[in-house]
């Protein structure tokens, strides 16, 4: 089973990337010993920022970006992590989901997560990320994971617990096998007589 982590962290090291890594590790641990082990691909959007801009301007992505998009769209589940910028996901994070084809994530299990300087932004998951993925027709696990700067310090038990809970929900969802690929108009075309009469 393939898990794609999409992280929009900008610094190196990045707490956003760290949160993505922790979530992926938790998913791997929980799914270990099941039918198939989790195989994780991590996409640092920072590496593709120029290509994403070019994609918006020209309507197509570079070969490198196309590979990344294929890896995410082809994954069995996606872990999406963004820093909180100006009370929402970052522009870079949104750009990636803006260039995906319609219905590319339909039915896909997604775990949403965000980082921020203060706990006061934690609802960004509920009012920004969750509606975005609802619009994309993804299946978002009930627990979103928000990590403020303070969560990384002493008493990080709360964060651990949220990571485990969300990862468990994602693995359960994967077992349910909800993802249905969108119909392919090239492999299964609408016959012309039908187009003509509709």
């Amino acid at each position: 089973m393939r898990i794609a982590v999409v992280t929009a962290g900008l610094t190196q090291p990045s707490s956003t990337r760290l949160l993505g890594d922790r979530l992926a590790a938790a998913v791997r641990d929980i799914s270990a010993g099941r039918a198939t082990d989790a195989e994780v691909t991590t996409v640092d959007l920072r590496d593709h920022a120029h290509d994403l801009t070019n994609h918006l301007l020209t309507g197509f992505g570079s070969a490198a970006l196309r590979d990344v998009i294929d890896a995410v769209v082809g994954a069995d589940a996606v872990i999406a992590v963004t820093p909180t910028f100006s009370a929402s996901y970052s522009g870079l994070f949104k750009m990636f989901f803006d260039v995906l084809e319609d219905r590319a994530l339909a039915g896909k299990p997604v775990l949403i997560a965000a980082t921020g300087g203060t706990e006061r932004h934690s609802l960004v998951l509920e009012y920004a990320l969750r509606p975005l993925f609802a619009y994309l027709q993804a299946v978002v696990v009930p627990t979103g994971v928000y990590a403020a700067t303070s969560d990384w310090g002493a008493g990080a038990g709360g964060l651990h617990e949220r990571i485990s809970r969300a990862a468990g929900e994602l693995v359960t969802l994967l077992g349910a096998g909800t993802a249905t690929p969108p119909p392919d108009p090239y492999d299964d075309p609408t016959p012309f007589e039908q187009l003509l009469s509709s």
């Binding site: 301007l57 020209t58 570079s62 108009p185 090239y186 012309f192 187009l195």
Partner: protein, 363 residues
């Protein structure tokens, strides 16, 4: 194999001088480019159709009629004729008239147009783009093939006992191509009727169009018009040449960097690696163009875009001189590679011959 040029007809400032041509200058430049195309031995000139600035060609048959009078061999075509927002009755009349004036040197390419605001100016809605293309074209075909048409459709006023005049030259409608960037429905339409399919090709990676064209070929065969490799395929291309490839790159770069569509985006090097755009020596253009056949199979028509991004007329005419040099090489190479069962693009003469054959066989 047919070679030619297609033009968008944009009025774009020359980024090296900041000066934009007037509409009059641009329109006359398009004509000069078409005449030059015939002079250097190209087969086809195709003009775009647009109804919004910064584009000038809103009235393609007016322009093509003028060019027809000043040429003798060039095939006059469009890239594209808006089948969604034009009245199919007017398309039938305009292009039949052009056919007579040009002694049959006419074909046309249907397109939908991707500019939302244009549709309501002509009483339509872009969300109906595909149904409009399908219904309007079905009517257009009947208007050209039946002397008296009764029609009742979703988009147009009904017709009772209507005859579109003039009737097509020699009773044979112009050959039709369908252009599409991303709609399998349009490839399906082209395949259903056994019409040509044109993939604009430029601006995007070839993988994208590979899928569309192989789909069209497969469906062409499905509908019984011949084998998949006998389907009628046209491709776009975009080139800038100088004898020395570095001169070509240096001269074109300021135009590339500010061009409509891809300007301010990827570098010239990235874009030429990913798309058919070729900047370099005539030999490099020959080599790159030959790869199109490897990707898409034997095809019938190659159109180049040479006059956009604010390039001055003088430069464009120089490009045409160079195209005139490389086209005989490409023609020879591609004709030698093409198996005998793969047809040429239909022309008025070939369609008349086929129609006589069919008539003979039913007698």
């Amino acid at each position: 194999m047919q070679f030619g040029i297609f033009t968008v007809g944009d009025v774009t400032p020359d980024p090296t001088t900041g000066r934009a041509p007037t509409e009059a200058e641009r329109i006359k430049a398009m004509v000069a480019i078409a005449l030059k195309a015939e002079e250097v031995g190209l087969d086809v000139f195709a003009t775009g159709e647009h109804h919004n600035p910064p584009f000038v060609p809103s009235s393609p048959t007016t322009m093509l009629g003028y060019i027809a009078a000043r040429t003798s061999k060039l095939i006059l075509s469009t890239a594209t004729t808006l089948i969604t927002t034009n009245d199919p009755v007017k398309i039938a009349e305009d292009f039949a008239m052009l056919q007579h004036l040009a002694d049959g040197r006419v074909d046309l390419m249907m397109g939908r147009g991707n500019t939302g605001p244009v549709y309501p100016w002509f009483g339509q809605d872009i969300r109906d783009g595909i149904p409009l293309a399908i219904e309007n074209y079905a009517l257009l075909r009947r208007l050209w093939r039946e002397d008296v048409v009764d029609w009742d459709g979703r988009f147009r006023t009904p017709l009772q006992g209507f005859t579109s005049t003039p009737r097509p030259l020699d009773g044979v409608p112009p050959f039709v191509w369908h252009g599409s960037i991303r709609s399998p429905e349009i490839a399906e339409q082209a395949a259903y009727y056994g019409d040509g399919f044109f993939a604009n090709h430029i601006f995007w990676p070839k993988e994208h169009f590979e899928r569309l064209i192989s789909f069209y070929r497969r469906r062409f065969e499905h509908y019984g018009h011949g084998a998949a490799d006998q389907a009628i395929v046209g491709l776009g291309g975009q080139v800038f040449m100088r004898r020395d490839s570095q001169d070509a790159v240096n001269e074109f770069r300021p135009y590339f960097d500010k061009a409509p569509v891809y300007g301010h985006g990827p570098s010239l090097e990235e874009f030429t690696a990913e798309t058919p755009l070729t900047i370099g020596s005539p030999q490099q253009v020959i080599e790159k163009t030959l790869t199109f056949r490897e990707t898409f199979g034997d095809y019938q028509r190659q159109l180049f875009l040479v006059d956009h991004a604010g390039l001055p007329l003088k430069t464009v005419l120089e490009q045409l001189d160079l195209l005139g040099e490389i086209v005989p090489v490409l023609r020879k190479e591609l004709d030698a590679l093409r198996p005998a069962h793969v047809p040429d693009a239909p022309t008025h003469a070939s369609l008349v011959a086929r129609s006589n054959e069919l008539e003979g066989s039913t007698r």
